[in-house]
């Protein structure tokens, strides 16, 4: 029972990350028709917003390290700690959650610059061109990050108070050994919150209604005199922010490095395809479903019967679903079918 519960939680928190990234990808594809291979790089940029914000908070004065006697070495003491003492230390401790406030404008700006500066020139080009240019952009972003932050993962810890594990067993009256990392539980809750917010925005606001109408029938909406393109540009910005926030909150789970976006990109495309191209609900459903499947396939009991299944389960299920439902779980007719 404990093992099952742990695997469910693990699947859900993995699924949360997949769903968040896939949601942004689907938004971009569903509105602008752009296949954005730089979306993983945006996730990585989000994680580096947390790193950068942490660096800003820990901006330091160099003090000679007297403990090193062989050569002149210097250690750093953050100005915040010098100026504010314990309060400064506490602010630095909360760098990751605080960096959400930093990441939202930064990612929005990145999204708008990217869309206005590059992506808009490729709206009417073939998908192959879009893939090439966005993939190239992803590599450029990666290399810029590597240049400034190096290639090694950068530890970005969560606040001390949630750095350990939640005693789930004790809380639920089960085995006391049943624990799960606090931050992963927070990430799951955060991803559900963001997904809910995006859906609410699209469902309950006029702006969202126009966007949904534009996704369903762009021509008719434009005939009504509405500038759909402008709204879609904003949606691109929102997709960028969603990817960025997914990255910010993932930083304590996986120490950010310049390549982390690529690791998620392929999986996220599988999630989008399984969910159905252009279907937001499908992306979320597929994200959680594939996360759960991957988690259960990693159980030793399963791997004893089917060795290596954890490595291929996502792709295997994707093949089966596409054979049975070629448009994915919730795909609509006519999308990506010219």
């Amino acid at each position: 029972m404990d093992a099952i519960l742990i695997q469910i939680l693990n699947g859900l928190d993995k699924g949360g990350a997949y769903a968040l990234i896939a949601l942004g990808l689907t938004l971009t594809f569903g509105t602008l028709g752009i296949v954005n291979f730089a979306h993983g790089a945006l996730f990585m940029l989000g994680a580096f917003c947390a790193v950068l914000f942490n660096k800003i908070l820990t901006f330091s004065v160099k003090v000679k390290d007297e403990s090193i006697t062989f050569f002149d070495a210097y250690k750093e003491q953050p100005y915040l700690e010098i100026w504010l003492g314990d309060t400064g230390t506490a602010i630095i401790d909360y760098a990751v959650p605080l960096s959400i406030l930093f990441a939202i404008p930064v990612m929005l700006l990145v999204g708008v610059i990217m869309e206005r500066g590059l992506i808009k020139h490729f709206y009417k080009r073939e998908h192959a061109d879009q893939i090439l240019v966005t993939f190239g952009l992803a590599i450029v972003i990666q290399e810029i990050i590597r240049h400034f932050f190096g290639a090694n993962p950068i530890p970005t810890p969560p606040p001390e108070i949630v750095s350990g594990s939640a005693p789930l067993g004790a809380m639920l009256g089960l085995n006391e050994n049943l624990v799960y990392p606090w931050w992963r539980l927070i990430y799951l809750a955060f991803s559900l919150l963001i997904i809910g917010a995006v859906f609410a925005f699209l469902k309950f606001t006029t702006f969202g209604m126009v966007v949904r109408a534009g996704m369903a029938d762009r021509e008719t909406v434009e005939l009504l005199g509405i500038n759909v393109q402008k709204r879609f540009t904003v949606v691109f910005g929102i997709a960028t922010v969603v990817a960025g926030l997914a990255g910010v909150m993932y930083a304590p789970i996986l120490p950010p490095d310049y390549h982390m976006g690529m690791d998620f990109l392929v999986l996220s495309f599988v999630v989008v395809v399984v969910g159905g191209m252009g279907s937001l609900g499908g992306a979320v459903l597929a994200g959680f479903m594939l996360g759960l499947l991957q988690s259960f396939a990693s159980m030793n009991e399963v791997k004893t019967i089917l060795p290596g299944i954890d490595q291929i389960i996502i792709y295997l299920v994707a093949v089966i679903i596409l054979l049975v439902r070629p448009r994915g779980l919730m795909g609509r007719e006519g999308v990506f079918e010219d």
Partner: protein, 451 residues
Amino acid sequence: MKNDNKTPTLDRRGFLKASVATGLAASSPFFIQNAFAKGETFRNMPKADAKTITLGFNVPQTGAYADEGADELRAFKLAVKHLNGEGDGGMMNTFKPSALKGNGVLGKKVAFVTGDTQTKSDAARASAKRMIEKDGVLMISGGSSSGVAIAVQGLCQEMGTMFMAGLTHSNDTTGKDKRRYGFRHFFNAKMTGSALGPVLKEEMGTERKAYHLTSDYTWGWTQEESIKETTEALGWKTVKTVKTPVGAGDFSQYITPILNSGADTLILNHYGKDMINSLTQSVQFGLRDKQVNGKNFEIIVPLYSRLMAQGAGKNLQGILGTTNWNWALTDEGSKAFVKSFGKEYGNPPSQAAHTCYVQTLLYANACEVAGTFYPPEVIKALEGFKFDGMGNGKTEYRAEDHQCFKDVLVVRGNEKPTSQFDLLKIVKQVPRKQVEYDAKIFGGDLGPYKV
């Protein structure tokens, strides 16, 4: 009577002889390009009047081990500087017996070219081939992965170029994949097991249940095998060994099954980015706070590096492992190297930097001892070479497998660091005798001197 006034004529036989001789002479460079000719004619042989020789430093400048590669490159540059008689000389002042004079190698100044392995075997081979064929290097060194080292070592054997391996820890490098032209100063997984075993017994007893997470490539396989052999000899039981893909990122799916496996010890056969991620996530899953079988749950990281320790932060504190060398060693050679490197770069060197620096000096010294750059003679000068003053005490390059034997350091993530670099605390300097083994156990064949 000799007719001195005879006019030279060219008859048919003379013409044929001259043609054959011209043809042979003209074609000889092509033969030389692919194999050594008789005597001391060999690939990239420096001309007698050449003022410089070129060495090739093939390190990961991009990819997951780029920071490790950058430190290796710093060490290579420092070694070249010292060989050419610049700077404070570093370990050249402590290395003995030494034939190095500080005027280059055999009177020729040392120059170098660099390549990027990208921590990929095919990219590393292509880069090494370019260095040999286009840049005319006499020796290649570097690398931060056993997969890369084995691939480049094979190429160097084929092309008759010396390979002084950088950071490579797989048993295979000087085991089943050993080559006559390849030499490894770094220790290996077998030596890690031999060094770590007694410390594990002392600190964790003989009744443990171990669970392995292992990087799925040559280094991970051999390390898992060596550590398993060691712990099972102590009386530990191996609950499960799980291979994980290199660069998996999120290891949570491999960690959750450990929670209910009955294991009380996790052995992470991971390196670099994988180690940082798997360890960080294991700690987040509360493994270090767990009690299983009436014992505190323990994590072991058999191969440590200071650069990795920086990445893992405080998660590494208290965790046992081994390392080839550490900047905190107090022998004269280590002190000289740390001083020289720190003065130049403002940081102490990593173990990767140390092994690359030492390898460059050892190659140069072997050329001086042999009195030539001719690889078979340089190889002979290195085989069985005994030296001291390069850190870790008295050291020997074993002739049978080209594996260097020296003391191995058992270290622990420092719980009370006294400086920003004081991340690993030396628990024990395990004497060389304890980590020696029979060269025959891993098989393999060094191959010929002349290729």
